[in-house]
């Protein structure tokens, strides 16, 4: 039986406390669909990383922008879009607390069944992820996270072992 799930659109301030709210909303949507626990966990992680990128990279510190999330189910699975209206992926204001590890996009690629990144400088960034009800392959096998922790403490995609 196919559950009826409305398309969900969220718009909230791009602040750290919003990321958990999006995760809870996703859990609510997924609850009405048939995903196994492993896919649900991957979904929550990928969406968290996408939202974190918006909070950390999309806007400078004076300009509090919005974090926009859309979720829509179809016959094959759930598609989730995370979007900002910022200046495009940049190093930006990551220095507020601590430098970002730089692992967000590799994780999203490894945990989603489909992943697209769109955006041009000045036009915002959109991360589109899809998750299948029935996985044929583990995406982490198809798109493994490459690298390890680099000498500067950030993720280094070329490192074959930890540099520190």
């Amino acid at each position: 039986m196919k559950a009826l799930v409305p398309e969900v659109r969220l718009s909230l301030p791009a602040r750290a406390e919003g990321v958990g709210v999006v995760r809870q909303a996703l859990a609510g949507v997924a609850d009405a669909l048939v995903f196994d626990a492993a896919v649900l966990a991957d979904m929550k992680m990928a969406v968290t990383e996408a939202c974190t990128n918006v909070v950390v990279h999309a806007y400078d510190e004076r300009d509090e922008g919005s974090l926009e999330v859309e979720m829509a189910a179809d016959d094959t699975g759930l598609t989730i879009v995370v979007r900002d209206q910022g200046a495009g992926m940049q190093q930006g204001s990551a220095g507020r607390d601590a430098p970002a590890l730089g692992l967000g996009l590799p994780l999203i690629a490894a945990l989603s069944d489909g992943f697209e990144l769109h955006g041009d400088p000045g036009e915002g960034t959109e991360v589109r992820m899809s998750f299948a009800y029935e996985r044929r392959v583990d995406p982490a096998t198809a798109n493994p996270v490459q690298g390890s922790i680099g000498a500067d403490g950030r993720w280094d995609a070329d490192a074959d072992q930890p540099q520190v």
Partner: protein
């Protein structure tokens, strides 16, 4: 009440256990960094206990890796434990990033405390 607490457990004397419960992401990572700083400042071994954690993201991994580096530099033992029944929201990110042997991650708390104790003071 904090639904996602991070507290220091000092009952193991020379090893401080940073107990992380619930969901943690960029919102609580600064608190985790503060607790890890406090634990490292005691000068002994440090264990991060994720047994009751249900979700950790890359912001949390960043905090755990920074603390690991400082522990290594200072010759302090540093071990993460996850318990016997690990939540997928914790295990998966450790697996796909290959960080289990790096942090390192072990199962039980007792094992982690023993490992952190024996590594403390040893040349890294």
């Amino acid at each position: 009440m904090d639904a996602n607490p991070i507290v220091l457990d000092e009952t193991a004397n020379d090893v401080i256990v940073v107990v992380v419960e619930g969901e943690h992401d960029i919102y609580t990572a600064p608190t985790l960094r503060d607790r890890l700083d406090e634990a490292l400042a005691r000068g002994g071994g440090v264990v991060v206990d994720l047994t009751a954690a249900t979700f950790v993201d890359s912001s949390v991994l960043g905090a755990l890796l920074d603390a690991r580096r400082r522990a290594l530099d200072a010759g302090q033992g540093y071990v993460v434990c996850v318990g016997a029944q690990v939540e997928p929201g914790v295990q998966r990110i450790l697996d796909v990033t290959g960080l289990v042997p790096v942090l390192p991650v072990v199962g039980g708390l007792d094992e982690a405390i023993t490992a952190a104790r024996s590594a403390s003071g040893a040349p890294s």
